[in-house]
């Protein structure tokens, strides 16, 4: 596999995204909205005790985990279904590139923008959160080990999971909106993790629990990689993709 080929494909997709302003708004507006809104609310309820705040604050990191599931759907639906709609996959497949190189290129193109948007949003979120809670807690709550695990382990794994799921979904649909709607279903297990934490079914404040959830995401990623690879077959794309 030649990474340079995948990067050429991903770079072309970045150029295509840059022409679609709506896509950029959708990518960055929600993470930044959360980044500004939640610290604002926390500032308003800052009368809570230190103990309550330290239980309260880690839960918000999981908003970004949920975003990691939903944001790639927006992008992935453009990278694959968009190519189907524009009928541009056939000439692309006729070039001297392998299926894996194309798939990786599409994967990179669907991974980087949402990951960057989430990192940007969470950076603003943590900075503002520290700003409003520092006086109450007496220290900067973010970043911490758990937030780092969420952002740099669980979020990328969740983005990869979403990208792979969307590739599998793209084979079955022929319009961008349908792909997005089906793609968003991948958010459900991530919301399940968040709700389980809120209901104390899983203690998401424990680093070991986060690592276990990260491990499960990794296993799901590997399974979905095989599913996506099996779906993205040159002949299948040309003869069966609707």
């Amino acid at each position: 596999m030649r990474l340079s080929k995948s990067w050429i494909i991903a770079s072309k997709d970045f150029k295509v995204y840059s022409k679609k302003k709506n896509l950029i708004y959708v990518l960055f507006v929600v993470p930044l909205l959360i980044a500004f809104l939640i610290p604002g609310v926390i500032g308003y309820v800052a009368h809570k005790s230190n103990a309550e705040l330290t239980v309260f604050l880690p839960a918000f990191s999981f908003f970004y985990l949920i975003l990691a599931g939903s944001l790639p759907s927006t992008i992935a639906s453009y990278t694959l279904v968009g190519e189907k709609v524009e009928k541009s996959l056939e000439p692309l497949l006729a070039t001297p590139t392998t299926d894996s190189e194309i798939l990786l290129g599409k994967g990179i193109a669907a991974f980087i923008p949402p990951f960057v948007a989430i990192l940007a949003g969470s950076a603003v979120f943590m900075a503002l959160m520290d700003l409003v809670t520092r006086s109450k807690l007496g220290y900067y709550f973010f970043p911490n080990w758990n937030s780092d695990i969420v952002l740099f382990l669980m979020v990328p794994l969740a983005v990869i999971m979403s990208v792979e799921w969307n590739i599998a979904v793209s084979a079955r649909v022929s319009d961008v909106r349908a792909a997005q709607q089906l793609g968003y279903l991948i958010v459900l297990p991530l919301m399940g993790i968040y709700v389980s934490g809120e209901l104390d079914i899983i203690n998401l404040g424990h680093t070991s629990n986060l690592l276990i959830v990260g491990g499960i995401l990794l296993v799901v990623d590997i399974i979905l990689l095989y599913v996506a690879r099996a779906t993205f077959q040159r002949e299948e794309i040309l003869t069966s993709w609707k």
């Binding site: 050429i8 494909i9 295509v16 009928k87 056939e90 006729a94 001297p96 392998t98």
Partner: protein, 306 residues
């Protein structure tokens, strides 16, 4: 340059292409005619290593279609214009070509030179910074052709390159194909357009799942329906008819003083026919050779197959 032997493709129980054997030489413009669903696109897709073959052998140059190690080499030496142009509509013409140039491993200088050369040849250079999505069908088709040539391929597969184009754009594309022929490129042209095939193809194959006929346009015209000589006489007579039956055993249709005679080689046969009429006391007013067209040949083969 392109060789197939009993090339077959089945989708489940349905045979899309059945034992096609053909040989296209270097620098030839080879037309591939056939009705919808005849297997033309499937054949091209097999030859471009886009889909697998079920059985048979196919080679492009020295490389074998279906051999994984050769697939990338084949795709590198061919250009492909699909029936749907498949451009990136939000990108401009230059970026569309530049992307493909990179995928074909052309260096920056090569890309710049080829993009400028082909966009200028196809009259799109002034529009290089305009989004492909705003182009007319003809312009998009030209851009797709430029894209297929960006790496200077030896073999070019074109699937219906003039379908849905206005006459002027069709002519530009046809002229461009003829220009490519002078550069010794081998062109495999899928088309429904018989007139186009007749004008630009050196040889033509007629496909209807199976290969129905193969030859030059002239050979196909003759082999399938033959030709007719139409003779207008001042007056027909039994004497003339008897004389004609002695020189030709073929069908003679009489309509008043007009005789229509089936011929295979009118240049040779007409001399004897006219001579027989004159010897029998006939006065010939006009002699016209009516050639059966490629369309006659095509329809005869396709209808006969049904």
């Amino acid at each position: 340059m392109i060789e197939t032997e009993n090339l077959t493709k089945k989708f489940g129980d349905m045979t899309a292409v059945d034992s096609v054997t053909l040989h296209v030489v270097e620098g030839e413009v080879f037309g591939f005619l056939g009705p919808n669903g005849a297997g033309k696109t499937t054949t091209v897709r097999m030859l471009c290593c886009l889909i697998s073959k079920t059985s048979g052998v196919a080679r492009i140059g020295e490389y074998e279609v279906g051999n994984n190690a050769d697939s990338l080499k084949i795709r590198k030496m061919i250009g492909f214009v699909p029936d749907n142009v498949g451009l990136y509509e939000s990108l401009n013409a230059y970026d569309n070509l530049d992307f493909y140039g990179k995928l074909y491993d052309c260096n920056e200088t090569q890309r710049k030179e080829n993009i400028e050369r082909f966009l200028k040849m196809l009259g799109l250079w002034e529009k290089r910074d305009v989004s492909a999505g705003t182009f007319s069908k003809g312009m998009k088709q030209k851009l797709a052709i430029a894209r297929s040539l960006i790496h200077d391929p030896k073999v070019l597969f074109m699937d219906e390159p003039t379908a849905n184009l206005d006459p002027e754009s069709s002519k530009t594309v046809r002229d461009f194909i003829l220009k490519l022929k002078t550069e010794k490129k081998t062109i495999f042209l899928n088309t429904h357009n018989l007139d186009e095939a007749q004008k630009i193809c050196d040889r033509i194959a007629i496909l209807n799942t199976k290969l129905m006929a193969l030859g030059t346009p002239q050979e196909l015209e003759r082999s399938v329906s033959g030709r007719k000589t139409v003779i207008q006489l001042e007056q027909t007579s039994d004497l003339i008819m008897t004389a004609l039956k002695k020189v030709t055993a073929r069908n003679i249709a009489v309509d008043g003083n007009k005789l229509t005679i089936d011929v295979v080689d009118p240049e040779k046969e007409n001399v004897a026919i006219v001579d027989a009429i004159v010897r029998a006391g006939g006065h010939v007013q006009s002699v016209i050779v009516v050639g059966s067209t490629l369309e006659d040949a095509y329809l005869s083969l396709v209808r006969h197959d049904k």
